[in-house]
Symmetry: C2
Subunit: 145 residues, 2 copies
């Protein structure tokens, strides 16, 4: 995501605006972990590390995810080398997933973010409520006669 430029027309190179994508590794990382299920999958796999989890078990541990999204998420993670996929050629072929070393190294910063979220998101929620209320006041004053 955010890898192509959806804007209306083509971009002349060297014009302005092509310096943000290639240069910023943080953007690329956030494009990955910012997708809806990525961080959840990493967390679940990290809890099991260095063990493995199968597709159906992952589905069970990530409530609300569809097969399609789990599949897509895992494909991205494998493609990035954060997760290893191991196919066991048994009776019905079983597929096992585990975090690679790279994936495990991401768990550090990611769990720091989780801790921050758990401690500070309630405050952000309150701030949003306050903002909503004040704009509501203005809305009432402006809209109804």
């Amino acid at each position: 995501m955010t890898t192509s430029r959806p804007g209306g027309h083509d971009q002349r190179p060297g014009e302005r605006g092509d310096l943000l994508d290639p240069r910023c590794p943080t953007r690329q990382l956030l494009d990955r972990i910012g997708t809806k299920w990525m961080s959840m999958a990493v967390k679940v796999l990290a809890e099991e590390a260095p063990g493995e989890l199968r597709f159906a078990e992952l589905r069970r541990r990530i409530p609300g995810i569809s097969q399609k999204m789990l599949s897509a998420t895992l494909q991205s993670l494998v493609r990035d080398g954060l997760v290893a996929r191991r196919v066991e050629s048994t009776v019905p072929p079983a597929v096992h997933y585990r975090l690679t070393e790279l994936g495990l190294s991401l768990e550090g910063p990611l769990s720091a973010l989780r801790v921050w979220a758990e401690t500070h998101m309630p405050e952000i929620g309150r701030n949003n409520q306050l903002a909503d209320e004040s704009t509501l006041d203005q809305g009432v004053r402006r809209v109804s006669w």
Copy 2:
């Protein structure tokens, strides 16, 4: 974002799938910092902290951002209480932005993520290249006769 459920039909509560949005502060945080300019804005403001920056100066320091997106980004940050907005009622009214204490506290985990990105994203890039090449091979074998 990711706060409404766009899926085709309504959700019976207690059925399955309503436990992911309200319960997960990490999701809410990632929905915020995952947007394209959020983390960039926080970083730029953090570099200047505890000083302030004006709208035009922020634009200059965030290459490629449009007025519209900068405006929207700052509004979200202010709404969340991560950034404080101060209007100076001078000749042309000047608006100053600075990180709040809450915003500054986010810089810690966020910069940890940036460090991780800078050290490990090249490896992820290589992994993706390898994946592209192997699927390209398969594509050639499958598609052209």
